[in-house]
Subunit: 218 residues, 2 copies
DNA sequence: TTATTATTTTTGGCTAACCAAAAAATTAAT
DNA sequence: ATTAATTTTTTGGTTAGCCAAAAATAATAA
């Protein structure tokens, strides 16, 4: 098996199993990897041979510890590159994912180390997603996208992932300031729009906006 | 044909034909690409179909103008990355080639543009090799490696490609200072060692040293 | 529990890129 | 101009990664 193929499978399994080695099935993988399930069957068999996953016929697949280690490393490379592209080269956050999908496959530990150092060895990318360290250790954060916020909880607005002027104007208009504390009042059932209290005022924001706001759980 | 395969063939043909569309033969290509000649035969036929090269049976292959354009672009990407790795990330000049071999295949014009800008849009890499611009135009330089120097000619020492302390000490000992003007007195037939006049003193240097010194033709 | 639906696996087939060995063509040497 | 050496091409075969369609299995609903 080609190393890039392996990496793409492991990474996808990792994401689908949400880090906690939940079993993933072939259809999920096929959808994400844009291949048909038959192809996945073949692949996971080979990955099982390589002891990177445990594949049980007609049941599902999960990462072994060495598969997980490898997946974590790919995630690290991906997020370091994304952060680098955004912070050092001035790419928009919407552009970096696609480029990082390619860059993540360049396996040169020293390169990732240098990039990481230049960035100050961050533990989180601008999305708020954690960057695994060299050993694969993930620092768990209390950062979330506002779209994942829970009713009644309090948060502090920490940043945004959309830097368009349109969005920044939107925030200004609604008086959503970075650093402000907020409390979730309602989450609409039918469209997931959120009503929150910010600086004593009640503000309602769209799900799209909530998706672009990073907040810290208080 | 896979784009990476195409790129590797075009780049290799470009280098072997020294930029001036000299005909290259299959064995040369096979050697450089680490495949057997039969594989090259197959490949150049396909590249001919794609109108990227002109392949004449049992005779040889040369780039078409669109093939050449593509090759120049790959060379550009390679050298931009090399320069970036060396100048911005602090890699040694001996390390960058290998990494750039992978990075050069990431096709994202904006990425190369940003890297180039950050470097001040250089026309030459630290080797003294020219970096083609976006349109493929190459600025021809009067920089050479001292190992390519010609008898009786005068040069100015512009830099080195080996930054080891051992080499820098060697230069110091022989009083070869950056910026100094030199004149080539003799080039030994049997071992290519060079005797030159520098600051009125006669200095003899090894071919290995000459390989690491960049000089400007005066 | 049987039928229906969905998922998974098997089977047969394809293409790209490679190699080994044989055959053909070219080039060099006597 | 023949022979010898080299290079090139052809032929047959391999592996990785993919797909389509059929068969097997599992899950869901009636």
């Amino acid at each position: 098996m080609q190393s890039e193929t392996i990496e793409n499978y492991l990474k996808t399994i990792y994401h689908l199993s949400a880090g906690n080695s939940t079993i993933v099935n072939n259809k999920q993988l096929a959808d994400k990897l844009k291949v048909i399930p038959a192809t996945v069957t073949e692949a996971v068999k080979k990955l099982h041979e390589l002891k990177l996953v445990i594949y049980e016929k007609s049941y599902g697949t999960r990462l072994t510890s060495s598969g997980s280690k490898m997946a974590l490393n790919i995630v690290r490379r991906h997020r370091i590159w994304e952060t680098y592209l955004a912070n050092e080269l001035g790419f928009g956050w919407d552009e970096v994912h696609e480029i990082a999908e390619e860059l993540e496959h360049i396996k040169n530990d020293k390169l990732i180390k240098k990039l990481s150092e230049k960035l100050g060895n961050p533990s989180f990318d601008p999305h708020g997603d954690p960057i695994p360290d060299e050993k694969g250790k993930i620092q768990k954060s209390n950062f979330i996208k506002l779209s994942e916020a829970k009713l009644k909880n309090s948060y502090k607005i920490m940043g945004v992932t959309d830097h368009s002027t349109a969005f920044l104007k939107y925030l200004e208009k609604h008086q959503l300031i970075i650093g402000a504390s907020i409390n979730i009042k309602t989450i609409e059932e039918f469209d997931n729009s959120i009503t929150l209290i910010c600086q004593k005022k009640e503000v309602s924001i769209s799900p799209k906006a909530a998706e672009s706001i990073i907040a810290e759980t208080l």
